[in-house]
């Protein structure tokens, strides 16, 4: 159903991705047949609860999956603008493109700004290091560019602040530093893994606005991972709903949040406390999903409006008719 112009303009195409974790009790399938596209120059959100595999997916793209976890199948095709496309999963550990990928083409912002920076190096040092890892410039030049990027993410008094240590910054400020560090090499894709979950709501609003504004200016693609549908609504163009290592629904932000097809997505929305009438019990996912089977990995079906869902055939027909 997707027209060619659109499918051509993906910066990432993930297909049949599977990750296993070896545990004492056997293999746990962290990802099963995960596949979706990340359109260029847009914000794609992956939404899901803990254990849905949303962070593992991000780690696969960066090849950061550590033992006991292992990518067992699948491909991630990366199509940068300024070099030949390549496949990420099959890259050898020593392949220079892997080091180039991390922080150069794709960079990442993590959940915990309090622990994402080393306490023993100055902020300037850590941001400049990202440049020095990828380009042959002098230390001085790297520091200058670091200062520029820090300024851009809203950290004032640069002269003084660049020499400060992370623990002298508040949580919101630190997350700005991490964002600056991620953007300083002008990556094609910025992956944000729950970047605002540990922050206060007012700081969250500031950081969301910052990420959105920077994305508009730098025209990069953003993959935004979150469990918060409010955040998804505010930041995303495209939404991927994940549950227990699988993708259940893919669509535009309006499709997924305003007219969800998959019962699990409906359940997620219904469980948000702010939307429910006061004094009545909240809907839970179990109560919304009812007896619909959401655990069997049905293949993704593309519906008439372009969205994709994983549902049993009879329910697909029903959904298509709606």
């Amino acid at each position: 159903m997707t027209d060619d112009a659109q499918s051509d303009d993906n910066v990432l195409e993930i297909r049949d991705l599977a990750v296993d974790f070896k545990t004492d009790t056997g293999l746990t399938h962290a990802l099963v047949n995960v596949g979706f596209d990340v359109p260029r120059g847009k914000v794609t959100a992956i939404v899901g609860e803990s254990g849905s595999g949303k962070s593992v997916t991000a780690n696969c793209i960066m090849r950061l999956v550590q033992p006991p976890g292992r990518i067992v199948a699948g491909t991630i095709n990366f199509m940068p603008t300024d070099m030949a496309p390549f496949e990420i999963v099959s890259l050898r550990k020593k392949d220079p493109r892997l080091q180039e990928l991390r922080g150069g083409h794709i960079s990442m912002v993590f959940q915990e700004p309090m622990t994402a920076l080393s306490p023993v190096y100055t902020v300037g040092n850590q941001v400049a290091e990202a440049i020095l890892c990828h380009r042959k410039v002098t230390r001085k030049e790297a520091m200058r560019e670091a200062a520029e990027m820090l300024e851009r993410v809203g950290i004032g008094e640069m002269e003084r602040r660049i020499q400060m240590y992370p623990f002298e910054f508040s949580g919101g400020m630190r997350q700005r530093v991490v964002i600056a560090m991620a953007l300083v090499c002008h990556p094609e894709i910025l992956i944000c893994d729950e970047p605002t979950t540990a922050l206060d709501v007012t700081i969250q609003a500031e950081i969301l606005t910052l990420i959105k504004d920077l994305q508009r200016d730098l025209k990069n693609s953003v993959l935004f991972i979150t469990h918060d549908l409010g955040v998804v609504a505010q930041i995303a163009d495209q939404v991927v709903v994940m549950y227990q290592g699988r993708v259940l629904e893919i669509g535009t932000v309006r499709q997924v949040l305003k007219e969800p097809v998959h019962p699990y997505t409906r359940g997620l929305l219904a469980a948000i406390p702010g939307l429910a009438p006061k004094g009545e019990p909240l809907a839970t996912i179990a109560s919304v999903v009812g007896d619909t089977d959401i655990t069997t990995p049905y293949p993704m079906t593309t519906l008439g409006d372009g969205r994709q869902v994983s549902l049993p055939p009879d329910k697909v027909a029903l959904a298509a008719a709606e």
């Binding site: 950061l64 622990t115 890892c133």
Partner: protein, 327 residues
């Protein structure tokens, strides 16, 4: 930082004063004093000693004064740089201490360096390659190192050296340099000899440090700041050294001062077994003979070394870890 340094230096004064009282009390605890033990020796040799001579000796060393006064005489002289006279060796204590303290420090500090040079790479290797054959091998070696007391290790090394290679491994110098004045050749000779006591004294510390470093590093390896650094493209080798190792070694830096006593007491035993011209054997002899000026000075110096060691390690920690500096 400057006020921190000043307060730490001032804080050393009462610490050392209290230690001096304890040291003085401890060496006074056994029955009798240096004069009585000398009398015993002279009488055993059949020499007749007059009561007057004894009284003279006692007053010469202030032994006829009350205990408290004796302490102040001793401490006062110590502060002015006069550590008294060793009746046992018939030499001023100053000479004996300076000579021996230098050797003890050389062995202890080189043992400390040895500990680090061995433990650091092995600890990192063991943590990064956790549960590999290499890790198991190093762990086994470390356990053997931990379980073997230094003096036993010294005996084993000396035995191997003598029976298999026919060399004498005792002492710090070859016989021809023993009493020679300091020269480049003598220093070179010492370097040839010092590595064995260094290895023996440092072995268990190296094993211990390696195990703790491995554990600390395993805690740090998957911390978010390491993942962040990896995600920004830092090369694997640099990543480990610059991020987790840098944090994991902090506890050791603060422990250097605390490792000193263990190294010094380990060195004392090894020194006796190997016949080294260090503090250890001297201390034992002086204690056995109740040579109080010598024993007191040695104990005092060892205590001072430990206190200074702790100060230095605290300062180093403040230097490497900005979090401490800013507190």
């Amino acid at each position: 930082m400057r006020s921190y340094l000043a307060s730490r230096l001032l804080g050393m004064i009462p610490t050392l004063a209290i230690i001096s009282v304890i040291v003085f009390t401890v060496i006074q605890l056994p029955e009798g004093d240096i004069v009585s033990s000398m009398l015993d020796r002279l009488q055993a040799q059949g020499v007749d000693v007059t009561q007057e001579y004894v009284e003279n000796l006692r007053s010469q060393y202030n032994l006829d004064k009350p205990m408290v006064l004796q302490y102040f005489y001793w401490a006062g002289n110590f502060l002015t740089g006069d550590m008294g006279y060793s009746i046992l060796f018939n030499r001023p204590v100053n000479e004996l201490v300076w000579e021996r303290l230098g050797y003890t420090l050389s062995i202890t500090i080189s043992a400390l360096l040895f500990t680090w040079i061995v433990a650091l790479p092995i600890g990192i290797y063991s943590a990064v390659r956790q549960y590999t054959i290499g890790d198991y091998l190093m762990t086994t070696l470390a356990l053997v190192g931990l379980a073997t007391p230094p003096f036993l290790l010294a005996l084993i090394f000396m035995h191997i050296g003598f029976t298999w290679f026919g060399i004498s491994t005792g002492g710090l110098f070859s016989p021809e340099f023993e009493d020679a004045p300091w020269s480049i050749a003598k220093f070179g000779d010492m370097l040839v000899h010092i590595w064995l006591p260094m290895v023996i004294v440092g072995a268990s510390g190296a094993a211990f440090t390696m195990r703790i470093l491995r554990a600390n590093l395993l805690d740090e390896l998957n911390k978010p700041y390491v993942v962040t650094a990896r995600a920004k493209g830092v090369s694997p080798a640099k990543l480990v050294i610059k991020y987790p190792v840098r944090i994991a070694i902090n506890p050791f830096i603060s422990n250097i001062g605390l490792m000193l006593p263990a190294l010094i007491s380990g060195e004392a035993l090894v020194g006796m077994v190997m016949g080294l011209p260090t503090i250890g054997p001297l201390l034992l002899q002086s204690l056995l003979n109740q040579d109080m000026f010598l024993a007191g000075s040695l104990l005092m110096w060892l205590a001072a070394l430990v206190v200074i060691g702790i100060l230095i390690s605290d300062l180093m920690l403040a230097w490497v870890d900005p979090r401490i500096r800013f507190e």
